[in-house]
Homo-oligomer: 127 residues x 2
DNA sequence: TGCTAATTAAGAAAAATTCTCAATAGTAAA
DNA sequence: TTTACTATTGAGAATTTTTCTTAATTAGCA
């Protein structure tokens, strides 16, 4: 049975606040936000795996940034990753998923990452 | 200056043959295909980084499989990854890239991974 | 409140990656 | 072709990352 322990609650708490966070981001968050005793690194590793296996959090791999985690309980979306400020923005998926591609492969899942300069960075550099 | 050493040539050779190969795939290839002395692991790590930095090979991260490498000197494409036989298929990109998204972010690069069951696996399971 | 099994913290162990340096081998010039 | 120069290699040490082990703790239930 899965118990509602403090480290687990805090990881979810972190992702509820940050929305996208790397392994280290989450660990730092836990270190900063727990008054009492500090969290063990091995416990942290273990819980990240648990939550991932249970489908509560998801790891998103990215070619141009370090992988990050997000909660799975949100509508399907893609990611825009700013190569300047490293901000990650959720983008609603526009492309309709086809069942089969042109070659007869059954498509069950798609992952799309967009890389570029976010609106904020564009405006800053314009000045 | 970049020298044309044996380990480097063999990594490129490997990717020319296999098209998509994980770190371990490539290392095994080098071990099998060099008669004389064996390649050092540290040398291998070093050269993978070099070739990646020089933009000769590219690492493709994938949420549902281990990361793989490919040569960069091929037309822009996406990847279909079979979750059954783990085959990776290059898919020509259909979607035209827009310069800006709906939110004003400048898009410079897109990476798309499709996951599912490939044609061959579908046919095998049909029988 | 007390019981019980899941979970934790801490550090040991293992695995992955990087670093060090003497020996080797590409490459350019003679 | 031979020589000289220096980037690169191989081997293992060092470091970093991840997993494992175990006694102590704690969440959840009776």
């Amino acid at each position: 049975m899965e118990r509602q322990t403090k480290p687990r609650k805090m990881i979810i708490d972190c992702l509820n606040n940050l929305h996208h966070a790397s392994f280290d981001d989450i660990f730092s968050y836990l270190e900063e936000n727990n008054e009492s005793k500090k969290i063990s690194l091995s416990t942290f590793y273990r819980n990240i795996s648990f939550l991932e296996q249970d489908g509560i959090i998801r790891k998103v791999d990215s070619a141009m940034s370090e992988p990050f985690y997000e909660l799975t309980n949100m509508p399907k979306h893609d990611h825009f990753i700013c190569t300047k400020c490293h901000k990650i923005v959720d983008i609603p998926r526009k492309i309709k998923k086809e069942k089969y591609d042109d070659y007869g492969n059954l498509i069950q899942e798609i992952s799309i990452n967009e890389y570029g300069i976010c609106k904020d960075c564009l405006e800053k550099s314009k000045v």
